[in-house]
Symmetry: C2
């Protein structure tokens, strides 16, 4: 086990009707809020109205900013920063999923700096300060509601970059499973697979003697294997929606990766699909992850055997470790397909012609991606081709 | 799943040598510290010296208070409060296990109130404020390093009472597995069993549809089943000590009980053994827990079957649920014995003559203890007798 520091002070308010508490909780952090979200569904289902009523009842003035798009854009962020400055806002409330939250995080940081917020995504500057951020989560997937990370895409050139800072960790997040009942099946499935990816990026490690976090990750993955099909079959089952929402939060609050080197190559490799073809992140991950597994499993066969046996329920036959590992990967791929998710470029209708460019962009100047296996440009291109 | 709020801002610094950071971290919270601990081992192994050097290097003045005893006493707390006031101290650093931490918590609260701190343990007063608390953990067991709870025994009458408040949640806790190498075997085993009890008090619930936390708890329990014997066989194996210390922390940081009604009857029933006979808490728990299980398993047979199958690896034969449940309890009891722990009053050399008094005291005026099963005085006496 490696040394680690764990510190996650985000307050999680989980359960039915908790969004009615948003005003009372937000009042601890500010009195003039930017309410940032995207899409009409929040107006149609009445959630926006209830949230704004709660803010008003707590004496919080607010400016609505309805502009979030999937894979959130720097231009959206800049407009949000302008609104915060112009209206002297002191708090940002994100309503939605990872896109709303990440857009809000970048706005909160940018509103407190003189320079260009994009510099925090290129390494030229650090986030020194940010407006306090609150979240009402309606799409469980990204885990961004209690993470320090934020991913933004620059409009020109579609560069997708991450920034990480404790200053942009949300102060609180409200998770009401009922708000996710109307999430379309495809988005629900993509969210479940994104959550599973956050677990697997941590699970596949070369760090030895990490039995406790192994077992927590395995338990979380097994919960998703059982629950994802159930929630698709019964989208308004409270308990199934609650399990997904809770796992999604814990999967990415840092705890389950403590003491172990995490991988994150699949995320790096997938981001080019999202950036160039605007693929839903979770869908890109179900294409990339099995291909990545097939490419790297020999780098630590016992770990892939453990995954196959403990997570995918493959029968153990000690003399055939490779067959067990491959069966585990095969079952995961079949599981993704059973949820209606793509597992190939063909499924996504994406051509192969930009693979060399994507491999170069995925590395973005670094010598390699990933930690379980160090992947250079050639390796990444090979993984894309395995996923054709 | 029930609604819940999860908020645990304690910063965990985990790993080799982390205690050398204590001064730098403590400096964020105070400049005049009470350093509270008990016993000579910290002087002998050099840890106290290293901690105090780190405090001095950070410019923190401190007063040593070497007075912690197991099942910490109110008289010790009052002397600590006097020291804080007399020396105008603004921070309390606990070094040790649950006793040092709980004593420190009560001191930190008492130093900030005009009245008697015992009132916070009887419900007459609330903790409104406390000095900030830091912890260097040397005995993994209680989980008190990131919990809001504190248990103190009043000297006269041996009343053992709990107080809970977010104000006494430690600001940080330093967990270096190497500091636990010299922990005697019996205390190591008792700590492991206390940790397992914290997991089981959460596991045995009547709340339905709590699959995710079930699996996290099962994973944590299985880690302990594998690791506890290993750590007794190899007390200076870093990785085994690390697993125990990490599980001990997570077992009691609240996360694993979210969304489910917890039980805590075994703790209530055990506390009388500790209070009247000064039994090590973990040892009292290995006596009480199997007896409690035998008394209550019929209240939710499927849950005990799940425990037997998923945690204790009992083969599932669907037509014999009761046999499976009992075999799970039997295996847990055998596991406790394999660690050298007592499983009966006889093992502890405790007589049966005070059982009625203990049953009354365990309830302490409440109509019942526990939530998985509601236990009245008669039930509790029956559980004590099952443990003779």
């Amino acid at each position: 086990m490696q040394n680690f520091t764990f510190h996650n002070p985000t307050r999680i308010l989980f359960g039915k009707g908790r969004e009615d508490e948003v005003g009372a909780v937000a009042r601890e952090y500010g009195s003039r809020a930017l309410v940032h979200f995207g899409g009409d569904y929040l107006r149609k289902n009445g959630l926006l109205e209830r949230i704004e009523a709660s803010l008003s009842a707590a004496g919080i003035e607010f400016v609505e900013y309805d502009g979030v798009v999937p894979n959130p854009r720097l231009s959206t962020v800049k407009e949000g920063i302008r609104l915060c400055r112009e209206n002297r806002l002191d708090f940002v409330l994100a309503i939605g999923g990872g896109s709303a939250i990440d857009s809000s995080k970048a706005i909160a940081a940018g509103a407190c700096m003189d320079g260009d917020v994009w510099d925090c995504f290129t390494g030229k500057a650090q986030v020194e300060k940010a407006l306090p951020i609150g979240v009402v989560l309606t799409i469980p997937a990204s885990g961004s509601e209690s993470s320090k990370a934020c991913i933004i895409t620059k409009d020109e050139g579609s560069q997708k970059r991450m920034c990480s800072s404790p200053h942009i960790l949300p102060k609180f997040a409200i998770l009401d499973p009922e708000t996710t009942y109307t999430l379309p099946a495809y988005q629900t499935a993509a969210g479940c697979c994104d959550i599973m990816s956050h677990l697997m990026e941590r699970y596949f490690t070369q760090t030895e003697q990490v039995d406790f976090t192994d077992r927590l990750l395995e338990g979380a993955l097994r919960t998703m294997l059982v629950t994802a099909p159930r929630v698709l079959a019964e989208p308004d089952n409270y308990d199934y929606r609650a399990e997904v929402m809770f796992v999604g939060n814990v999967a990415h609050n840092d705890l389950l990766g403590m003491g172990r080197e995490e991988d994150w190559a699949c995320h790096d490799i997938e981001h080019e699909l999202s950036a160039l073809y605007d693929v839903t992140h979770g869908a890109g991950l179900t294409v990339i992850t099995p291909a990545w597994m097939k490419y790297v499993y020999k780098q630590n066969l016992p770990r892939f055997v453990q995954f196959a046996v403990r997570v995918m329920d493959v029968d153990l036959a000690f003399d055939q470790p490779e067959a067990i590992a491959l069966e585990g990967i095969h079952r995961l791929e079949a599981f993704f397909r059973s949820l209606g998710m793509p597992t190939s470029f063909a499924d996504l209708k994406i051509p192969a012609d930009r693979i060399p460019e994507m491999a170069r962009r995925a590395l973005d100047g670094r010598p390699y991606a990933g930690h379980f296996a160090h992947l250079n440009e050639e390796d990444i291109a090979a993984i894309y081709r395995l996923a054709l």
